[in-house]
Amino acid sequence: MNCLDYRRALLAGTGEADAMRVHRLQCAGCTAEWQEHAAFEGALRQALEVPVPEGFAERMTTVPVARRRRFLAAAATTLVAVGAGSYAWLARQDPLALACIDFVMKEEAKSIMMGAMPRAEARVALAGTLPVEVLEGVGQVRHISPCPFNGATAYHVVLAVPQGKVTLLVMPSAPMRGVRHADKEGMHAAVVATKNGSVGIVGADAAVVMSVAGAFQAYAATRSA
């Protein structure tokens, strides 16, 4: 290491390696250069740190929600375009998914009539499984209430998405893997994993059910990292 090497390395900004430090400690010229350079680097860093708009980071985590919703709408349209034939695999009937359909056909009206839980309470209850913010990113939350389902307490959610309505059964105590499907009397259901649990999605349109399921899976994937 000589003075030229030392000054080159400073200019490249790669940090002071051990060999450089050894040289600096015995070279007055490079010590002076090093001190001047430190002030320059500080000013440079400050100059690069241009002011960031107020609340930018928060906006970047929440604002794209509207755009995500539009993306989901587009995804659903694509799925419809693929055609009903692609849903032949839906014919595989999963008992839990079937139970979700039964709930919508037999219990949903009663659950809605019994009234929704306070939204603040719902936020706390769902935070660990499928946060209300995530639901709001996918559609408009019309109803949330706790209900007995599949031997445990689930949360019944009515979600209005751009293409119609879906019913969700959020099951905090029922973790699972993969995707389960059922198809019965014109209703489609999918059950997918979410954070620490699972969620059943029921609707009249398989494409809509699948796009909502896809959104929750994407959320679960970002959370499991």
Binding site: A12, G13, L48, A218
Partner: protein, 159 residues
């Protein structure tokens, strides 16, 4: 770390990086927002979660280039290698103005090095060049900045 946490951690530096590419506040914000929307869709497929930070900076870069209307990884606007002419009577300027006078091809590696904390090898991969060429750019960028911010007499200018 999930996508939202990643964004919350790096959003500010991603904005600054986009700003030094675009030199425009509104465009910087648009580029980051668009990039993060694409990132949100692609994140579940990202294999190397450890490389998530450089991936985020890379998608901002790609989005900026895309917004420029170019699908090519290298565009003319990031390829300009002309540094401010020494004969130009620019000296004693504030550091930020000096940075503004640098072409993006020089300001970009500086932003990646100091805002992103990336090594020369990482920067080289991100901007599609060699490690040696990256070090040259970083060196020349600092030389130009030192010249630009130097007070008048040291720059050898007129009195």
């Amino acid at each position: 770390m999930g996508f939202e946490d990643l964004v919350r951690t790096h959003a500010r530096d991603l904005y600054r990086y986009a700003y030094w590419l675009a030199r425009d506040r509104q465009q910087a914000e648009d580029v980051v927002q668009e990039a993060l929307l694409r990132g949100w869709r692609a994140f579940p497929r990202l294999r190397e979660r450890a490389a998530a930070k450089s991936w985020l900076f890379s998608i901002v870069r790609r989005e900026y280039l895309r917004a420029l209307g170019s699908a090519a990884p290298q565009t003319e606007s990031l390829d300009t290698m002309d540094l401010p002419d020494e004969r130009q009577e620019l000296f004693g300027v504030e550091m930020r103005d000096a940075l503004m006078a640098l072409p993006a091809s020089y300001a970009e590696p500086l932003a990646l090095q100091l805002l992103g904390g990336f090594s020369c090898a990482e920067i080289a991969t991100m901007i599609g060049t060699t490690e040696g060429a990256t070090m040259t750019r970083l060196t020349r960028a600092r030389q130009a900045l030192k010249r630009l911010v130097a007070p008048r007499e040291r720059a050898g200018g007129r009195t």
